[in-house]
Assembly symmetry: C2
Homo-oligomer: 193 residues x 2
Amino acid sequence: MTRGRPRDATVADRVVAVAGALLREGGYAGFTVDEVASRAGVAKTTLYRRWPTRDHLVAAAVATMLAETPLRDTGDARADLVRATLDIAAGLRAQTRALIAELVAYGARHDDLGSFLRELWTQRRQAASELIERGTARGQLRSGTDPAMLIDALVGPLYYRVLVTGDPITDDYVRAMADAALSGVAGQAEVPE
Amino acid sequence: MTRGRPRDATVADRVVAVAGALLREGGYAGFTVDEVASRAGVAKTTLYRRWPTRDHLVAAAVATMLAETPLRDTGDARADLVRATLDIAAGLRAQTRALIAELVAYGARHDDLGSFLRELWTQRRQAASELIERGTARGQLRSGTDPAMLIDALVGPLYYRVLVTGDPITDDYVRAMADAALSGVAGQAEVPE
């Protein structure tokens, strides 16, 4: 009943927050429903009623992590894309490399968790594509800008650094790469007549 | 003695080729020294003498896969970088997504195989950086081009597509992204005076 929210929503929020914290600490391998139940102070049977498998709980935790940084459309497509890319970088910095790598490895397999993660990522890219199309329509991005290519140019280098090279993804790096991507893929904005 | 090569080198080549094929088929999880020994027709003890653990054999197979596409310096830095990026894309296409994801996951961990894989990738990036620096010195890339950023812009989107989005990395896609990266990060070449 706290703050007008139904009691079970509060419990669910706490469980998902605990699950997220446990994932960050121990990665996928160290993630158990027992530990989540124990830390959240909730019976295991209650957990299994809502999240039938361990993977459902992992998926809920990852979805919550992503939802913490919604995509905004302020009317300035370039600024919004740079902001969104900085948010993704901050999200990646907040996780351990090993966890991101494990989630990506699971996502690349064709199991339930993988399908769920790919679906989450697809929704995010779809929202970004629409933002790019609106920016193109407003003349803020070069006409003919390919949304998928621009997203790949903005986000690809971040995942590459985190997963492969291990190089840091500082805000300065993100801004420099975003500038390069926006110049290269999006070109100079045409001044509307 | 075939083609003047010592006999043990021939056996080693065969074992590593078999190991690579097995990795491609079944990924890291399905990789066993027993199966490699059996398919290569070599005693397990012989294998263990040269590759003390399963991971040593995996590492040798991956190193061989990478060595199949050496970086060339023909004197035209832009063409060489596009060629190298096409080679990487072809290499990624030749593997299953699950295997690449597993190897990346290992690379992100601080175990022996992970360290070895990171070292391999670091050597490749170092060679590419030197190629970019020579291209910059020849005036083929804008002076002040940051090699690490250019490599990230060229290669990052490929890994992002393979590991995260699952979108195809066709040669047309690679060429378009490389053009964008070379324009954005490297700029137009200054005409030497």
